[in-house]
Subunit: 317 residues, 2 copies
Amino acid sequence: MPFIAHEAVKTIGIVGAGTIGSSWAAWFLARGLKVRLTDPSPATPELVRTYLEGAWPALRQLGVAHATLEQAASRLSFHASAAEAATGADFVQESAPERAAIKQALLEEIDAVLPPDRVIASSTSGFGVTEMQAEMREPQRLVVGHPFNPPHLIPLVEVVGGGRTSEAAVQWAIAFYNHVGKRAIHVRKEVPGHIANRLQAALWREALHLVQEGVGSVDDVDAAIAYGPGLRWAVMGPHLTFHLAGGKGGMAHFFDHLGPNVEKWWADLGTPLITPELRDLIVGGVDEEIGDRSYEELVEQRDQTLLRVLAATAKRE
Amino acid sequence: MPFIAHEAVKTIGIVGAGTIGSSWAAWFLARGLKVRLTDPSPATPELVRTYLEGAWPALRQLGVAHATLEQAASRLSFHASAAEAATGADFVQESAPERAAIKQALLEEIDAVLPPDRVIASSTSGFGVTEMQAEMREPQRLVVGHPFNPPHLIPLVEVVGGGRTSEAAVQWAIAFYNHVGKRAIHVRKEVPGHIANRLQAALWREALHLVQEGVGSVDDVDAAIAYGPGLRWAVMGPHLTFHLAGGKGGMAHFFDHLGPNVEKWWADLGTPLITPELRDLIVGGVDEEIGDRSYEELVEQRDQTLLRVLAATAKRE
């Protein structure tokens, strides 16, 4: 049986309304879809409403949302259980807390009511699909659909299938996320951290090493990214960047010309551990970097700059 | 004897007019300075002129250059030797090919004619200052001032002192680069790759590992950066990003909450070597990623997007 057509998806079930679930709700509402939301906290309607009020101006400014928040909110409903939120949904995005027992119980509850031609995606960063789908009635339709924080602003979604996931479900999810305006990639093996978090962790490991060894302050290491390669990585990924740096000879020339240098740098990279001393060093370094800027100022600065970067990169392809 | 005041610097000597030297020339001319340039190639005046014609519209668009290219070009002169280019210069940026013997000979030539109150910076990515300053008359004024390609667009400059460099020269260079509109950082120890190239190499190592292991295609790994963390790194560096991700608890909360996950990911990162097989795999993957886009189209896409990102991030502080 084929999965539901992407164009026929009108209603999204969202299970879990923390920052990830609320942000997913904002995105799907902005794209004109109905959202059926559930979360055990009694404060959920108020918290989600506040979240949407914060998120909506950016979504309007970026041209993602065309409706007013009032119009969009009329497409949002709150439900008492995962089963109720999933009933009538064409796709479910599970965003419950990162605890295996909670996620598995919710996934089984969704699985029991959702017709088999509908895909279920979990936002998990830490659990494997194979593990989570073990007790499902229709395990072939479970995927990881891991967003990058905050999901309503960062386009990336990492799609992973498990041992019992059908290839059709994986391809359906990738195409569906792209259909609603995200940028989905296929993570072809279940590995810790999927892809993006591993790449971040690799970079951060060397950043910590450089601070630990006294090569740079936290402030200078941060600036080395944000005023250097970070600017290029917002434009294109590392391989394409290096391909163009290789001139007409491209990636092959880059390997031949700079490969030996890169291998020399690799040989010198560090493998620090998160000791209490390193933690204190970094926390203190961040304090110095921040100076007298308040938390709210920094968040405002980040959000406004990120919005401009998103607008700047919206049409790169 | 103190170094010349930053405001008194009117004339820059540039030794070596490849892509790095030409790009430096574009930046200093845009900032209203005189540039004395030398390069052994007889085609230099024509190549530099072509480079400036390509670079100038972006420098105007970004508000870095106020003069027309004609006005700026009247401040540019070509010279037959490093000694001649350095004569009358208030600061020299050496950007010769990455060969130790060439650089050392040029640095000694500059050193012999430049008054001791003027700093000399080398753009080198591969050589240490201590090594390069060994035979200098005034070694205390030699620093590395390593830009990030292309120097007229990417703000980062990494400043490194050697064993015989004075702290005053390092601080002078950092303040001078910032004075002319760059973002200089202090690399406090001579390590291979300074800071930014090491961080890039660390990320790329894991990117190669993920492709090698079949976790993601080159295209998907590139997208994982450019549509994910790359967008955030154009805004602020990894530590400040994580600090804000930690909410009100900041960096300390981030360590406590996500540290164990990060350590699990670290334990799983790979250490690939650049074998012929890996090289072919990546070159082939880049070809697939590019599809039918021409080299010129890609360069145009990169340059236009980068310009918008630079404008988006120009006022983040």
